[in-house]
Point group: C6
Chain length 280, copies 6
């Protein structure tokens, strides 16, 4: 299951090819708790469905191209999940296309690089391509709005073009701006879409239990306050709170000698905002 | 008739020239059931009318240029039908112009390549040119909106320019964004327009019968649920459902040993969406 | 009169210079009934008025530059009429400027080519320049809207610049988007504007009589159905209908052995649309 | 006075320098009636005021730069008046800047050419520069709207920059789109603006009397019908009408043997439109 | 005071360095009455405040950069005042940046030239830079609107960047489109803004008294009519009126032998417009 | 605390590396009162929170990238605070990215320079990068609006890209146009945002006390008038007022011999505007 899959990430990465190594770079999981956290039923369900698509691509002869979009609020764990799917697939060709490795390139260079990854994938019998943060890949900005139509058109065609006979490809996209992808016609180009949600109180409890930084008395209040917070923000606020009001207390807390001051934790949560206002 | 025409696709392709071979590449039919499915009366009617245009081009001396647009929801079978017409025409020159083979090219290169195909056609006595997914050819995107006016103007002129004396040409366009083509003035440039619809319950029944993957008890319910679904989505959802809830069951189903679990089928249909919301 | 003028088109073309030969290329008349059809009073009236302008340019010393715009619905016969005027003028220099011969050229090349035609005309004592489909020459598209301001400005200046002393020039423009030319200021640059209409029932009767493909019983019903249809659509629908519902009957019909099935004719008219919705 | 000034145009041009010769090219007056027509009190008044500005530039030491805009409906006689002022000024440097001689040039070439004319003028003690049809110089089109900001900015600066000490310059602009010049800030850059009107009935009578092509009985009706018509349209409609309904009568009319058929004249006036709808 | 300062302009210019000589070029004052006119209390007050800023820059150690904007209706005397401040400052480095000397340059050349002037100023201990007519420098036009964002951004940064230690700089901007500068964020970048007004009746009286061209009986009426007129328009209308209705009278008037005809003066004022409608 | 931190700025700068020296250039504090002013509780609180982030970056292993935005009205002290944090951090790599050092560069050069600073930071174990005045870095202007999407996209990616393992980075942004950053999606890319306010009456009192330029009787009135004024404007108005109404008094005031005339102070405050209208 998903949890187990997550457990296997680090070794999988460790034993991975160059391509997967490059993935690790953007993958922050291993900096925290060895990347192993159960984020609740909803995340697990999506993960399982996505793994069925992996199987479909592997066994079926009628699905040379399957495309799946993971959308959801910023920091909810989409990229982490896409990477986990890639690692668990055991496909010979797994590649991530991300704006981070194409910084400062011209539109046409970016487009060419994207095409190249697909052309390479067409040579492998089983491939996965992750299009990470598609709104960033197409350089979208709401003001205007502006974006690269060249890259956008390239994606639209690639998401529909069938691989050559006998080659099967799974494309996983991620985005935290699904309405943008809608307006660009990119969302429709995906066969399936799953929404990766923020944590609810139950999910947050599971993560906090794993972290074990709150006193028992404050555990429920902390989890309650974290309802509807993306997992990324949960990590950030816990680390901020761990410094203590005057600094210097983080070592004591992570070693378990002290617990986080719940009031300071609420202060930090206020500073950081929950981001709830931006995504429903 | 249309059904028979479809039956002949594979051999036609097999015996085809280089040009037609290249067509096969984008043509997914041969990956499934040998591409032979009867999609109902409405598809058949359109196909017959289009074949009359083929004949008109062949026998008449007054119609050196006939233009016909196949429009309809995404995945409803427009490209497949256009290809079938091209194959069944037995014309010496049949060519498809598609964004897939022009990925990443500049507007002017694309425009030049399109002109080249027409110039070549003018040399043959009887020709068919398929302009596939015209909104993609002109790089249209709703945001802005943006598109290539160069390519758009090129099409507008080519759709009206008469071939030299004694040469006859049928142009078939396809699009799933007919209102876009309207606003670009491209729709008006076609003499005839036919709408290729999604499957209705009756049509779906015919396809499901050919596939034979549901238990008799569930057959009607499945067909009912597939009302107003494009044929492309029908294939995708059947393949998804065939994996079973936990994976691994597809072989048993395609070999006929097992039938698809109807509840899992409904789940998959939910995941995939019917696309009904986007096109009326 | 106009009808007689039309009768003389083919020989006129046959005896024409290179320039006029090139005109024949876009002129579809000779593919049908030797291009000789009386389209009714309204067409004839416009033609006569335009021929008066030809005479004015020829005899007057005060009109070195006369400009005249033929506007009207798509396919109503504007280009055919402009060509007829050019041929009947017997002027030593008659040239058509059309987007069809400038496909794929850059804005500045197109502009230069247009200027060149005018400069050449300035060398002849009597000249006619036909600016065919001006909205296409300026690459207009409603979305945006976009168009070539370079070409547009070039036309605006050329339509006002007087030829050198002793040289007289008639410029005939055609357009099916007169409101566009209005917004670009190009319509105002023409001294006279005539609207070339679609056929009315009477006009249609004349054309159908010449074609002689309907049984007497159906003649009036057919003409009635063709009220407000452009002549171009009339030809197309007759040829479609002539194939018969199952194909193969056109030879019998054109040879006069059979008549067109009136119901199939109505079907074809439905397929083709009358275009009435787009132009009032 | 203005009439006398007009009388002197042709000889003035005949005896003129290269610069003034070039002016003749765009100046249609000499094609008709030797360019000598009294257009009524309002034209005369504007002409006199403008000639006072010429004198001011000549005698005053405090007005090194005087700028004056002639605006009014298309064809009302603005360019003719500006040219007359230039000729009558007897200034050593009189130059017209017109879009007609800069057709097809890039924005920057046009801008450079305009600057060059001003730089040349700065070398002469007394100069006149005519900026003819400024909306055309700045390549303005209402759709968008689009125009050349480079040329526009160049004009804005040149219209304010003082010539070097001891050099005096009068700039006369013409435009039939004064509201455009307003929106570009160019109108404000002129010190004085005069509106050159269309002819009223009285003015038209004077012109018709000079032409002498109507029978006495029809004279008043013709003049009445020409109320609020620009002089350019008056000439055009008279020449059209002179051909007669069936052509061939113009020689008889201009030689005085026949008079224009008043009904045909009204027909022609209808064809040509009065242009009243476009400018108030 | 301001009046005295104005009195000293001409000698100051005469004795000035190359830089200040170049300033004289755009400065029309010396063409009229030796440039010495008292424009009333409001102008004087602004001038005094600005001179305090000059002193602040000179003596203070905490104000290395002081920025001041003079805004007001077209022709109200802003550039003249800025130049006077520059001359009276006796600073070793005084430079004017004006669109007049950068005509036809590309945006980047203009931007580079502006930066160069600032870099040079940073080398002098005390400097004044005049940014004349900032809306013209940034090539602003209301239609669009369009402007040079490159130049705009350059100004925004330069107006905030502190000179190196020990170097002090006063930047004076002028504009007659302060709302434009507001929308570009340039107005906010100035520390202080003063509005230079049109003349009121009192101010106009002072100027007319100095000019002495009206009969005593008409003096008050003339001044009254000049209420809310910019000084530039006052000069223009007086010179126009001095020519007399039929020309030729200006010498007599300036020599004092005759006075201006008050009715002709009102006529001229009508011709010229007061510009009141454009700025409140 | 913050006050103490400010006390240490000058020596810190004095002893700083090249990088920090370059910072001093834009940092005006040392021109006034040795840069040491206590701006009240709200500034102090923000400073302390920001210093906790510095510590978090230093000690934690789970926060390789922390991002913090200081937003607030123009002149409220954001850049000064960011610089103070950089100096007090004692991190080996502290760099400021400012539009001032990139004036006139092309978008792509600016983008490349920004990337370079991040790449350099990735080589140091502990780094701080200050993105000063982000709306200026992206060349934003409200008219249009226009901005550099290239630079904007570069920042969006850099603000999310994790440094290589073992390298920790704190990014501090400043802006006085937070709503712009919102619309560009840049604000969301920061983990924490603090608003740096204008001074309130209490804060102003502290600053005025340190300056000691008002008589005791006027102290409260002056502070009251400075409520809601940014610290930058406070300095400017005090220096203006110190010149006295007729100039020349500043030395006496700074040496303590005289006090500022409170009425002249109010006048200057009026001239300068409080800027309250632009930011709430
Ligand atoms: N199941 C998980 N277990 C542990 N850590 C996780 C898990 N899912 C996500 N994370 C961590 O949470 C953070 C955010 O996850 P991730 O980057 O995948 O989110 P995202 O939705 O892609 O965010 P963005 O919208 O910014 O792209 C990362 O540091 C990631 O390592
Ligand atoms: N009559 C048919 N028999 C069998 N398969 C068909 C038939 N029509 C279409 N298909 C299959 O259905 C899928 C969708 O068809 P096709 O690509 O022609 O649709 P489309 O309308 O062109 O879609 P799009 O809008 O995406 O361009 C293809 O895989 C095609 O092979
Ligand atoms: N009087 C006529 N007699 C015979 N055929 C005609 C006549 N007028 C037009 N046609 C034919 O009708 C068709 C349409 O005419 P034409 O191309 O001139 O129309 P149009 O108004 O220019 O169309 P478009 O708006 O597409 O440019 C052509 O094939 C032409 O040959
Ligand atoms: N006073 C006149 N006497 C004789 N002919 C005149 C007179 N004024 C104008 N014309 C003639 O009338 C025609 C139109 O005049 P002109 O070109 O000066 O008008 P315009 O206002 O500049 O037109 P446009 O708006 O098209 O630039 C020209 O042929 C010109 O020669
Ligand atoms: N105090 C003054 N005494 C005499 N002449 C003056 C005075 N102020 C301005 N002028 C003159 O008035 C005219 C307009 O002044 P100036 O060019 O400074 O105005 P402006 O506000 O800068 O105008 P614009 O808005 O066009 O830039 C100039 O000719 C100038 O010489
Ligand atoms: N705490 C302080 N003590 C002394 N001077 C200060 C303090 N904070 C700011 N200043 C001074 O106030 C002025 C404005 O500060 P700063 O430039 O940091 O403001 P800002 O908010 O960055 O302004 P902007 O919005 O223009 O970028 C500077 O001269 C700075 O030196
Ligand atoms: Mg992500
Ligand atoms: Mg298709
Ligand atoms: Mg035509
Ligand atoms: Mg003109
Ligand atoms: Mg000025
Ligand atoms: Mg700052």
């Amino acid at each position: 299951d998903f949890l187990n899959a997550l457990h296997e990430i680090v070794p999988a990465f460790g034993a991975s090819t160059d391509n997967l190594e490059r993935c690790r770079q953007w993958y922050g999981v291993d900096f925290r708790l060895n990347g192993i956290v159960d984020c609740g039923e909803r995340h697990k369900h999506i993960f399982q469905r996505a793994m069925l698509l992996v199987e479909q691509v592997k066994v079926s002869k009628g699905s040379p191209l399957v495309t799946c979009l993971l959308e959801g609020p910023s920091g909810s764990g989409k990229t982490a999940m896409a990477a986990t799917i890639g690692i668990d697939s055991d496909f010979p060709y797994v590649k991530i296309i991300s704006a981070e490795t194409m910084i400062g390139l011209s539109e046409s260079s970016k487009s060419a690089q994207i095409v190249k990854v697909f052309e390479d994938a067409y040579k492998s019998q089983l491939s996965i391509i992750i299009l990470d943060d598609i709104e960033r890949l197409v350089e979208y900005v709401e003001v205007g709005p502006r974006f690269s139509n060249l890259i956008s058109q390239t994606l639209l065609v690639l998401l529909k073009r069938l691989p050559p006979k006998g080659k099967n490809l799974l494309v996983i996209g991620t985005t935290s701006a699904v309405e943008v992808l809608d307006s660009l016609g990119i969302r429709d180009a995906f066969a399936v879409t799953y929404r990766v949600p923020r944590l609810n109180t139950q999910d947050a409890k599971k993560v906090l239990k794993a972290l074990d930084v709150f006193a028992n008395d404050h555990f429920d209040a902390a989890a309650e306050a974290l309802n509807n917070v993306p997992i990324k923000k949960l990590y950030m606020v816990v680390e901020m709170a761990a410094q203590g009001e005057r600094g210097g207390s983080s070592e004591a807390i992570y070693s378990g000698k002290e617990k986080i001051n719940i009031n300071h934790f609420f202060d930090c949560l206020g500073d950081i905002g929950t981001g709830n206002q931006f995504y429903n």
